[in-house]
Symmetry: D2
Subunit: 204 residues, 4 copies
């Protein structure tokens, strides 16, 4: 593993599509790569935007977004100390240029950050409504929030919030299954279905 | 529409995630954006690679790949005259820097192209086996082919070919459904399932 | 077609699994057979139960349920005159023994029916909440409601209702795609995803 | 558990839709109930048919088929001794009237059975091609085989066989995910996707 670190140069990693296994993380606690890139596409990032990555976990979204935001700024917000450890190791490994770690509890720790153009919310946490209110207070018109939900509760709460707050809301569901060349017995292994909520703030 | 053309500047379009509706194409004849970005991620493009986009259609893969290959070259291969018309219009609209159109029938028209590092095959066509043999003859070790299949026949033929030719083969199935904010009645509309075959050429 | 009618005898049709194409209905306005049988299985019908089939449409659930309820009673409730026409034609075709058509608007038309052991709700209609309250008022402990939802709104409203009314609630999502032997080109054609909400009334 | 046995009477179990947890089996080694009923529907059983259930496992297909074949005969074929133990316990529990256990290796153990009208193949085993040839030799015109596949290899081998042997072949893919009322945290848990191959023997 260490050897790999030493050899890593910017040209060694893909500009999109880092495999799940390349990130250091807690077992299985990572957004699968297929969901990650669809979420990134739904964010519709532009060169110089500000992205808040709330519930950044091991940092896979922030790290993949870095190449897509060459003149932008990315704030990887995470409160869990275990995750922050993995997040810092992954930043060290992939050395994105524009990612800054923000340790702390959202929404309070968002106060000092510059207003976002885009917000990704990967973790549901316990205070979703409060978080969405804080995000809504800082997001400009045409700003966009992308949220991934594994549970019906998160799907419902977020689509309710955005629907009542003047956003255009689309939901994409993704059912992904993969075979693995590592096993002879090529079963398709399913990931749990994910809901990707895309909310675009209307013009005033 | 014309007004939109005039206004388009590099900063106006996302670095990833152009919506399906932004491409000019024949009705519904486009790889859905979710499948497109997953295929791009599976290609694991690096800055300066050569990509063959075979069966380029209206060019959505080539155009989205352009930002991911800042020092690379992309060859959009297409034989259908109708598609070439849309392809050229889309190139004119999104003005990627590294995409070259190759009109003609694969595999014969591939002969004069530089060897690829990555190959995307979007259309099944009628001569898949012959095409895969030609691609295999030009692809270096560690090179990678990503193929999207809508039919069992294409899935089987391609996984047979790669399995028998010393490639590592993984298959991802993607079931995507979307609601649309354009309608009050939020039905999830399903796209047909797609198989994404990822074949990596083994070291000698 | 007429010849087929004449020939139909009880032994001619399967005891489960009537193909979609065998039912007379409005174009594509039928629960796909895969969803239909899963819904029937979730109902856990027993020999002598009373089933309300609300929003019976062309009657496919009632007709398939008939064999599963040899000593039971099935009430096919439908308000739409077009559907009632197809419903009656299908009853004439498959001649189930225990199905009775109830023309009218639910919940008011449910008043004179015997209390149900099982309720299937296939159509969302406009007055879902009111309907669920009426059903809840008549369903005994251990009774079960199965509801199919195509939209997020119906999914949310129904799982909210049952969650707040002391039911055990499980949700199954079904993504079905089929090839057809009628075409050489074997594309998997996807049906829109369906949510099957299963709500079991708790003991007092 | 024993108490439950004692109390079980024919009216206590549903005529369709026995929950997975009701069958005694090896951990997770059971066809999920949603797949089971779709397979049963695809079999299009009629009152007095002969069904071979090859790779019967813990017997869930045979047991659920029993009610659908009131005047028929079901042969539950299994070679694995562990499974046969669970199969016999489940027969004892649900006491179907028409199921007979056939211990042994298919296809050789099929020789003494009466010709089937319907064949269900749940286990892939090692000798699929030989098995399909034996089944084909015994199945009359209009007979039907339903096979569930978890792997690409089984899907391909079986659709190849039937396609080359004069059968009409349809394939249905099923992606099922379920929430559970047992947990507060309502994640949709996915089952691995299943392919249901339906092959109908053509008239001569």
């Amino acid at each position: 593993l260490i050897k790999r670190y030493d050899n890593t140069t910017p040209g060694d990693q893909p500009t999109l599509g880092i495999a799940d296994g390349e990130f250091l993380t807690m077992k299985k606690q990572i957004t699968p790569e297929e969901v990650r890139v669809v979420a990134l596409a739904k964010l519709q990032l532009r060169h110089d935007m500000v992205l808040w990555d709330i519930g950044a976990g091991s940092g896979s979204i922030s790290i993949e977004a870095d190449f897509l935001l060459p003149h932008g700024r990315i704030f990887a917000v995470e409160r869990n100390i275990e995750y922050i450890k993995f997040l810092r190791e992954n930043l060290n490994r992939f050395h994105p240029r524009n990612v800054r770690v923000v340790e702390g509890e959202a929404p309070s720790c968002l106060e000092d950050l510059p207003d976002p153009d885009r917000v990704f919310i990967g973790g549901s946490g316990g205070n979703l409504w409060e978080l969405l209110e804080a995000v809504d207070g800082r997001l400009p018109a045409d700003g966009r929030v992308v949220l991934t939900a594994m549970t019906l509760d998160t799907l419902v709460a977020s689509s309710d919030f955005f629907g009542n707050s003047g956003y255009l809301v689309d939901v994409t569901t993704l059912n992904v299954a993969r075979t693995s060349s590592n096993t002879d017995y090529k079963v398709f292994e399913a990931h749990n279905p994910v809901y990707i909520i895309v909310a675009t703030k209307a013009q005033d």
